[in-house]
């Protein structure tokens, strides 16, 4: 059964993360008003955090609104913890 957790906000300077379990490799989908400039950097921040937390088999929707990398990473950590605790969206 697919499970989903969310964290963060869509306000400026923040990121809203939706994390869902899935079969197979991780998939990262990013939306951002600064996607052209910072898309690769956001993706790297997400990938690094997933690697640190040893997370696989998830779909991550990153709705960035010009957040700093550490904010994106904090929101992702929270979504992961909520998914693991079973706090559903």
């Amino acid at each position: 059964m697919q499970r989903t957790a969310v964290a963060g906000k869509r306000e400026k300077g923040d990121t809203h993360i939706t994390l869902s379990t899935r079969c197979g490799a991780n998939e990262i989908v990013i939306t951002s008003p600064v996607l052209d400039l910072f898309g690769p950097q956001i993706r790297t921040a997400v990938e690094q955090t997933l690697q640190q937390l040893q997370i696989s088999g998830v779909l991550i929707l990153v709705e960035d609104n010009q957040a700093l990398d550490c904010v994106t990473q904090a929101r992702l950590r929270c979504a992961v913890q909520r998914l693991q605790r079973g706090v559903e969206a």
Binding site: E11, G13, D14, A74, C78
Partner: protein
Amino acid sequence: MRSWLYTPANTPNRMIQAGMYGSDGIIFDLEDAVALSEKDEARLLLEGLLPLIRASLERTHPAVKIAVRINGLDTPYWQDDLKAVVGSGGAIIRVPKVESAAEVEEIAHALSLLEAELHIPDGSVHLQVLLETPRGVEEAFRIGAASPRVIAFSFGAEDYCSALGIHRNGPRVALDYPRARIASAASACGIEAYDAAYGFLDNADALVLECAHAKALGFHGKSAIHPKQVAAINGEFSFSAQEVREAKAILASLEKNQDGVSSLEGRMIDKPVIAWAHRVLAAAEGNR
């Protein structure tokens, strides 16, 4: 420290900007400003942002201090809050609704364990204690003397008024007793006292009057809940040019009369007067 500006700890942009409004200190709030469903989110955000904000302020506003208000000891959150704050380099913790010396001892012990775990010198994390209930006010001196970690009291007027069933914006005299008791206990403990935040944002005149009143009772500063309150608070809790001139004149008169007894314009200059003059000049030079 004249002014402490509260900022919710789950709002990245506001946290990043908090140090730019001229307050002497900022307080990232994990308690009342954060909904129960967001406690975990705020704590993780604070862990991620605090090192960055500290480093940034050290470059741009090095005098600005950072404190974090944790959740109360009667909640399941305070120990995780402590770990997050100390683990990310926070050195001042504001503890809400303290009512006894035993509570200070409990949190001081938890901090000692954390400091040992993180290889931080024992006692390096300090506490600002919020006195917000009649019981806390009555216990003020014992609370302040319970640990050398306690560096300040802060008055919490909303909860105090609620406990007594009085209106926060009622006659000012209603809060004279807790204010005087807190300021006196702080002085007895050798620590600072900060007055309660004023929640009526559109009443700037009343804020100024409340600052002046608290200063007259012995408070060093006041909490703010909006950046627009900071300038008024700083202004009221700064020593006036007249006070600075008077302090300089007092110390100058001592240099002329070094036999231990002095007077200035008919006023006897003794030890407490000299101590006041030193305090005024230290504050004027920014050594708050």
